[in-house]
């Protein structure tokens, strides 16, 4: 299995220079993507104009508008402050999924450590926003269920279901992207020319879909945490 992969060029350069493994592959790639996206955002901020928007600005406005509409639909009007984390997480995971399709780059999401990190960030964020919106006592009282008599039954079920959200978010993202990369690698191992291309096209679509599903589920969890005093 080892002959199917070789590490990205930065990893190999670091290993060659320092003669032992400095950082794992996915950490280097994640930092690279974060620096690239931040650099693009900072560069783009100087080119925003209200009167004369360019094509890139119009396209990004459509993307941000769609995210904001989806967020307000799911969470309600108090969801507007969450757009920062939701948009960042979505675009970051999308870039991480797509960068594996380029030569000499590797996806950070192929590693389970990275996806568990993203899932833990989403979990901590929605719990924090729930506690901030309702107060700690009121938020944890919802874990006990509708009737006080059912509390000993509902509490373990609710706790397990909340922690299983981390598991499901991370494993879904990891399993999809790792499976796609494995199929592309296996196809490229057998026939190196032109045959992996349909699978890579599916990888483009699948990467976008998985990032979208990740942030969609985070929005649903946020809605459940923040707005649950209405029932």
């Amino acid at each position: 299995m080892e002959q199917l992969e070789h590490k990205s060029f930065i990893y190999e350069w670091l290993e060659h220079t320092y003669h032992h493994e400095v950082l794992p592959d996915h950490v280097i790639m994640a930092f690279l993507i974060a620096i690239l996206l931040s650099g693009f955002a900072i560069w783009f901020r100087s080119r925003i104009s209200v009167d004369n928007p360019g094509k890139l600005q119009l396209f990004l406005e459509v993307v941000v508008g769609a995210l904001k509409d989806m967020l307000l639909d799911n969470v309600g009007t108090r969801g507007r402050p969450f757009l920062g984390l939701i948009g960042t997480l979505g675009i970051f995971i999308l870039a991480c999924n797509w960068i594996g399709l380029f030569p000499y780059f590797a996806s950070p999401t192929v590693n389970l450590n990275f996806t568990v990190g993203c899932a833990v960030v989403a979990f901590l964020y929605y719990n924090y926003q729930g506690i901030r919106a309702q107060g700690a006592a009121n938020y944890f009282k919802h874990f006990l269920g509708p009737l006080p008599a059912l509390a000993p039954l509902m509490l373990p079920i609710e706790i397990i279901s909340h922690f299983s959200r981390i598991v499901s978010l991370s494993l879904r993202l990891f399993g999809n992207i790792f499976g796609e990369e494995l199929v592309i690698a296996a196809l490229a191992f057998m026939v190196a020319y032109l045959v992996p291309v349909p699978m890579m096209l599916f990888g483009v679509f699948g990467g976008m879909l998985q990032a979208f599903v990740f942030i969609m589920l985070t929005m649903v969890y946020l809605g459940g945490a923040v707005a649950s005093e209405e029932h």
């Binding site: 299995m1 639909d73 494993l171 879904r172 399993g175 999809n176 499976g179 599903v213 969609m216 649903v220």
Partner: protein, 111 residues
Amino acid sequence: MTRKIVLAALVSLAFVVLAAPAFAQDGGSTWTPEVYKWALISGAFALGLAASFGAYSQSRAITAACDGISRNPGAAGQIRFALILGLALIESLVIYVLLIAFIIFLVLWGG
């Protein structure tokens, strides 16, 4: 029809379970070639089961979503949202089985 499918699945499961005496250890390490054979067969069989039931459930979800959109085209956005959410949740169960199959085929194979 579903009863026949469930019956067929239970019978095949019974066949696999009846082969359990093959796991008896013969004093060596845990991963004898006999265990390898059964691990591979069980991994592939579990994946086939998971993929087929997952595809059936997803087809039910897509059918319901298409019916809903055709009856009420104005709600297409919300229906599409619920459809994608439901498909992702069903597919994540199939992905869990796929990861177990990966562990059986790739990780333990090298050991």
